[in-house]
Symmetry: C2
Subunit: 142 residues, 2 copies
DNA sequence: TACAAAGTTGTAATTATTACATTCTTGTTT
DNA sequence: AAACAAGAATGTAATAATTACAACTTTGTA
């Protein structure tokens, strides 16, 4: 039942109480949390947790390829424990980040587009208004 | 011959000495500069220029849709005066940002992928090693 | 020439992130 | 079980990008 623990080991990361808790958090919260979101939410369960540990841990996870770090928000980095290929959408109104499916036509770039360049990761980001905020916005502009 | 000035007007931006200089800079430098790059490089020509003005100006340009602001670099925002659809590639070694052509197959997402979401802009970012750094890296690992 | 609106400037504040030295855990060896 | 070393976690202090803000300047117009 300790999925997070095993996941860390599989990614070459030594599990610790803090690391397991953070990985578990990312599996359970598909909200693209920031360092502070995670720090804040885990603080009750692990009162000794340090913000620096959250920074260190997320950096390590991203380096090991266990998670994605998203720079869709110009203020702070967000993190994503969901590794399946998908795009992200940030709402300019409510500031939430959503997962967007990438359909067949929207494939990730092939070798040919990148002559000689070695891509490690590719991100597709949208910025705009999420369904809910778009509705409100269009209603008000009527 | 004042292309930058006219471009600003066309985008609903009142031209000023500073704004024209910054727009001109972006047209002439396809390097995805940061605020500081621009501030530093224009300082000789306009000694009174303030860093705040560069921030204000770039924010205004981006809001008016005259330029793109790129969040490919987790530290600082970069700017791009080239509006044609293209992707970006940031080298993890030399930290340069390159333009990458998006071929026909790599289209920007269509409406269907975004049910109800209103996309204002879409970015495709790659991170990895540029041709030059990849060559060095592979040579050293031999 | 006077004036208001918009633009620019410089400093101070804010905020995310990193550096670093100290303390704590963990597993291993005696 | 005690001693030890390596790796991890912690907290504070530093750094760096960005924004807030109040004062000053420029521009166009009456």
């Amino acid at each position: 039942m300790n999925h997070a623990r095993q996941y860390l080991i599989d990614n070459g990361i030594k599990p610790s109480v803090q690391r397991i808790a953070i990985m578990k958090y990312l599996f359970e919260h598909r909200t693209h949390p920031t360092v502070d979101d995670i720090f804040h939410d885990l603080h009750d369960a692990i009162p000794t947790l340090s913000r620096t540990t959250v920074y260190n841990t997320l950096k390590l996870f991203a380096e090991k390829g266990a998670i994605l770090s998203l720079t869709i928000d110009e203020k702070k980095v967000r993190f994503d424990g969901y590794k399946q290929r998908h795009a992200h959408f940030r709402c300019l109104e409510c500031d939430e980040v959503f997962d967007i499916s990438l359909d067949r036509d929207v494939e990730f770039p092939q070798e040919d587009g990148l002559r000689g360049f070695e891509a490690v990761e590719t991100h597709v980001y949208h910025r705009g208004y999420c369904a809910e905020c778009a509705k409100k916005k269009n209603f008000n502009n009527k």
